[in-house]
């Protein structure tokens, strides 16, 4: 679509003149503090005066939040305007529930000090029912809330009255919110709010992004979606001092694989000791546990070091946040749960253990520390393995260049659209023609067709099946004037219980019990330490010791939605394998890493061990040019390996691995297994790859042909667990499966079972169904990263560099080391059953236990 900045003629420079006169009480507040309003704060006031929606891009510490609120403070504190509704003036929407600290400092305090009489209140899922009900009748002037609450408020018939006076919507952390299903739903809700209050304007607050126009378009109605994308105004505040980013250098050998950076813990500890408050980021919860454990092992000074990740119970996390705010901590080991929402003002060092996987995330983290704009913030990267050294170097270069990862431009998903349609029907009967136009005014849905919209309406009403069996149960009924209304009030009640796009992955509570004594079934009681992924829990062998919530625990058993553990004191607790890094390597960093490999002139800056490794690789095999992909084949330990290095991230590599396995199978080369990491993919068989390729029986260009994304992908997806999981999310968001019935909450595990069955049946009988389409679209960008894989296959067409080797290449070592550590799920499920049956047969035949153990290791 064309991008014509029609109503954004110029990139607005913050005006130097101190124009729009501030009301005396606000001007006085600034001068009492010894401050002057900043240029961008005045720019937003001016934009508000002209009723223009604006995106403000500014680093932390620039007074971004206050800038967003200032126009509202001026307006509410100024002349009284006649009210036509309930009097809600400003809606502040943030992706976080825990809005408290930042808002306290940037809004509540200033309002009090300015002596303004402005009622502000928060509204989240945690707000009491009584208060939430009162807020619908008698709202505050400024409401601070989340996207889900907005959707909920809009599903009530009184929404037009509640929002009639709405003047301003402030969208905080827009860069994090917009490119997600939550962002899709919010975009649709903004469109409805605009219908209710046509003069409403929006202010988006964002960190630096690669393509601001995606966010600018999000803020304004797309009145002509077929021809142009309309953009909001833009105010950019250049960052203060450049961040100082270094990569940790240690004496020790750098590990070949792994992400924990255990080898560097002493250096990390020393860095913590040399700073006031350090945040230590890791990419996965279990890495956080490992790092926390390791740091305390060497914490001779008893420095207060805390732990913060999404699996810990909320009260425990709040305690750490409070201690951090009160200056009682010297370091916090954290995952991305700490990214948003709390005040980082006193943080003077951000450490990243393992590579940051994306340039923007790391820059934003560093940028949030140190609230003084004129001093540089400091970041320290600690690579977990040799490839991560390259990746950290790439991140450092990206930071120096000020480069950002691009947010993939997205189109709104169909499951979210279905949820929204039902929500609107709950508010009031709707005319499909009018609602369709409103939906298209939201940027993510600007490109949707009437056909898609009608299918979504049909889905909401009767399930949208090719077999029209459910007309008599339809949830939407047509009124004489053609409007659609909900068939009965119970539908609205159910909708409100299930609103939102956040579907928790199945989580199990971790409950502390006394060590195994009686029967495991009789266990109950004991403290809940937190929650872990079902996926992880299922992998735990009995009596395994592992670390969680900063303690060494022994796995005692599992029952329904709980995992029972006891305290243990193992010297060397197991760190069971887990799903690797949550975030795949970004395309942007991957390109930089490839360029670095191809260019030996870059190597002298690398640690000697890494430089030596790359030199060896260029001697024994080859380093691929930037536009090539390297494929190596070699024998090792009675097997033949094929290793390739796409650098497209683990998810895309796993999908590629599944597809290559199918292809090789068909070609008569039966792969025994494969393993993937962020950089490479390795497959192995009994057959000699090198010979097969040499005599033309196996063609690499056929093997990597793009058409694998057609039938092969489709056939594999039929059996894929990941696809079933994706389908489940879409089914819940679209409302096919309810998370909650009145008086009953379905746990993730219960939901999983039924959606798998539905998926199978739907695929066979109604393959074009809207939900399958939605799940497919999600899979393309999400769990399976199909889009990225497609780009890769197109890029390497005719650019495959094959090396036939007599032994393992240096570059392949890291991925080969992951063999056995990773279990490939969704593959060969019957093989597992057969092996289990085999165990029984062996037992029946009187074979020894040893043989079974060996059988297990052979199946790789």
């Amino acid at each position: 679509m064309l991008t014509t900045p029609k109503n954004a003629k110029r990139k607005r420079r913050p005006p130097a003149r101190a124009t729009p006169a501030l009301p005396p009480e606000i001007a006085a507040w600034f001068s009492r503090r010894g401050w002057k309003p900043r240029a961008h704060q005045l720019a937003l006031l001016e934009a508000a005066r002209q009723r223009k929606s604006t995106l403000l891009i500014a680093p932390t510490g620039a007074g971004k939040t206050l800038a967003g609120f200032l126009p509202s403070l001026v307006a509410i504190g100024g002349e009284k305007r006649p009210r036509s509704g309930a009097g809600l003036f400003t809606l502040y929407i943030s992706p976080l529930k825990a809005l408290a600290t930042d808002i306290e400092r940037n809004l509540i305090e200033p309002i009090a000090e300015m002596g303004l009489k402005i009622r502000t209140e928060t509204r989240t899922g945690d707000t009491s029912v009584a208060r939430r009900q009162r807020q619908r009748v008698k709202p505050p002037q400024i409401m601070l809330t989340t996207p889900e609450q907005v959707a909920l408020l809009l599903s009530h018939p009184d929404a037009p009255h509640l929002f009639a006076d709405l003047d301003t919507i402030i969208l905080d952390e827009l860069h994090a919110l917009a490119p997600s299903k939550r962002g899709d739903l919010l975009a649709l809700d903004l469109a409805r709010l605009r219908t209710i209050a046509p003069n409403m304007m929006t202010v988006g607050l964002s960190a630096t992004v690669a393509r601001p126009s995606e966010l600018r378009g999000y803020l304004v109605p797309q009145t002509d979606p077929d021809t142009v994308t309309l953009l909001s105004d833009l105010v950019t505040v250049e960052g203060g001092a450049k961040p100082e980013i270094s990569i940790l250098e240690v004496e020790d050998e750098i590990p070949w694989s792994g992400h924990t950076a255990r080898y560097a813990m002493q250096e990390v500890y020393d860095a913590i000791r040399a700073h006031k408050l350090t945040l230590v980021f890791v990419n996965a919860r279990l890495q956080a546990e490992v790092a926390f454990q390791e740091l305390w092992r060497i914490n001779d000074d008893n420095l207060p070091i805390g732990l913060h990740h999404g699996s810990l119970e909320a009260p425990q996390r709040r305690k750490v946040e409070a201690a951090m705010a009160a200056g009682k901590l010297r370091a916090v080991v954290a995952t991305s749960t700490l990214d948003l929402g709390i005040d980082w003002g006193d943080v003077d060092l951000v450490i990243h253990l393992g590579a940051p996987k994306g340039a923007s995330r790391f820059l934003q983290r560093i940028g949030r520390s140190n609230h003084r704009m004129d001093e540089p913030s400091r970041g320290l990267l600690v690579p977990g393995n040799r490839f991560e050294v390259l990746e950290c170097r790439a991140a450092q270069q990206a930071a120096e260049a000020g480069a950002q990862d691009a947010i993939l431009s997205r189109s709104g998903t169909l499951d979210v659209l279905a949820q929204h349609i039902l929500g609107m029907a709950c508010q009031a009967p709707f005319d499909p023609d009018i609602l369709f136009n409103e939906v298209r005014s939201a940027l993510p849905y600007a490109g949707s067709t009437r056909h898609q919209f009608d299918r979504a309406v049909e889905f909401v009403s009767t399930g949208g099946y090719a077999l029209k069996n459910y007309e008599r149960f339809a949830k939407l009924k047509k009124e004489p004037d053609g409007k659609l209304r909900v068939a009965n009030p119970r539908i609205a009640q159910q909708y409100r219980l299930n609103v939102g796009t956040i579907v928790d992955s199945p989580m199990l509570k971790v409950r502390l019990v006394s060590s195994r004594g009686g029967k495991s079934r009789a266990r109950q009681g004991g403290r809940v330490l937190g929650e872990i992924d079902e996926y992880f829990a299922e992998q735990l062998p009995p009596r395994a010791t592992f670390i969680f919530a900063g303690e060494v625990l022994r796995f005692e058993g599992m029952r329904e939605t709980e995992v029972f553990v006891s305290r243990a004191s193992a010297e060397d607790p197991m760190i069971p394998s887990y799903g690797g890094n949550k975030f795949p390597l970004s395309t942007h960093l991957a390109a930089r890493v490839r360029a670095m490999l191809a260019n030996p002139a870059d190597w002298p800056g690398l640690p000697p061990a890494v430089g030596h490794w790359l030199t060896l690789q260029s001697e024994r095999s080859v380093l691929p040019a930037t536009d090539e992909v390297l494929v190596e084949t070699f024998p090792r330990a009675g097997r033949h390996f094929l290793v390739t290095y796409p650098f497209e991230g683990r998810l895309a590599h796993q999908t590629l691995g599944m597809l290559l396995t199918r292809r090789l199978d068909r070609a008569g080369v039966h792969p025994l297994g494969f393993v993937a990491n962020d950089y490479a993919l390795a497959l192995w068989t009994h057959g000699d790859f090198s010979a097969l390729i040499a005599d033309g029986r196996l063609s690499l260009s056929d093997l990597f042909d793009e058409d694998m994304l057609g039938d092969d992908l489709d056939a594999w997806l039929a059996e894929s667990n990941l696809m079933k999981r994706t389908f489940r999310l879409a089914a819940v968001v679209a409302g096919l499966i309810e998370r909650r019935h009145p008086g009953k909450v379905k746990s993730g595990r219960q939901v999983t079972m039924s959606t798998d069955l539905i998926y199978d049946v739907l695929r066979r009988h109604d393959p074009g169904h809207l939900l399958l389409e939605a799940a497919w679209a999600d899979a393309a960008t999400g769990l399976l990263d199909i889009r990225r894989l497609g780009d890769f296959l197109a890029r390497i067409k005719n650019r495959i560099r094959h090396q036939s080797l007599s032994r393992v290449s240096p570059l392949s070592v890291p991925v080969l080391l992951e063999i056995g550590r990773e279990v490939v799920a969704g593959h060969a499920r019957d093989a597992l059953l057969r092996e289990a049956a085999d165990v029984l047969i062996h037992e029946a035949m009187g074979d020894t236990e040893n043989e079974h153990a060996e059988a297990g290791t052979h199946r790789t």
């Binding site: 949830k475 058993g557 069971p576 049946v761 009988h765 059953l833 057969r834 199946r859």
Partner: protein, 240 residues
């Protein structure tokens, strides 16, 4: 991938497995059906026909294809064994009104399956009555060759019965992978069939509900796979 080399046991050799109950020989099939060769009887449990439309009536529009899916599966079994009698062990319909909601084409498919053979509906807790238009005999239980065929197993050690009701499933954990599948579970004197219906979930056989039925010793479990039915040692199984 498999430890069973194809030359030892062919793929299809796993589709059904011999099972002995009270000394009589049966074949348990990977679909969840049980065949009794000497009686030429095909036995299935818990079809739960029209479960999808039962949910739709309550506002959750599950895909309306479960009945035809289940009947198609049943047709394949009838094709395979050509039984003289089909015995459905109760909960054949998800609710007493289910038959009234069935699509005429599904009723027709059912009637075609019933041609040239006897059809016995054993009643269950979901379907205490069976609508006449579904044809067949309706009984609370029958005894064949000393073995009782009923919906809900009777508590107690020795009852010589074949039953359904519990939707047994087993969870296998090996090599860090977990697999949960419906299963047959028995001890030589009693067999509980997995649910045959398309939308039927499963209850883990390690659940307390199974305790009154089977002692700890001699428990036999066959898990349903895509390519075959697999006998699995109980010690490899886990709680949910």
């Amino acid at each position: 991938m498999s430890m069973l080399k194809p030359e030892r046991i062919g793929l299809d050799d796993f589709a059904d497995q011999p099972v002995s109950i009270c000394g009589k020989a049966f074949l348990a099939h990977k679909s969840g059906a049980l065949y009794w060769p000497s009686e030429r009887a095909l036995i299935v449990a818990d079809l739960h026909l029209e479960k999808g439309s039962a949910f739709a009536a309550g506002g959750q529009m599950l895909p309306p294809y479960d009945t035809r899916e289940t009947l198609a599966k049943l047709a394949a079994m009838i094709d395979r064994y050509n039984p003289e009698v089909v015995i459905a062990l109760g909960d054949s319909l998800h609710d007493p009104d289910g038959a009234a909601r069935m699509d005429p084409s599904d009723i027709e498919s059912l009637h075609m399956l019933q041609e040239d053979r006897d059809w016995i509906w054993i009643t269950g807790n979901h379907d205490p009555k069976i609508d006449r238009m579904l044809a067949g005999y309706v009984v609370p239980e029958i005894i064949v060759e000393g073995i009782a065929l009923r919906h809900e197993p009777r508590p107690g050690a020795v009852t010589h019965e074949i039953a359904g009701h519990f939707h047994p499933a087993a969870r296998l954990v090996m090599h860090g992978t977990s697999l949960r599948r419906p299963c047959f579970v028995g001890n030589g004197l009693r067999l509980v069939l997995p649910a045959f219906g398309a939308y039927t979930g499963g209850l883990n056989i390690l659940d307390l509900a199974f305790e009154p039925l089977f002692g700890v010793d001699g428990l036999a479990v066959w898990m349903l796979g895509h390519e075959g039915l697999y006998p699995v040692a109980p010690r490899l199984l886990r709680d949910d």
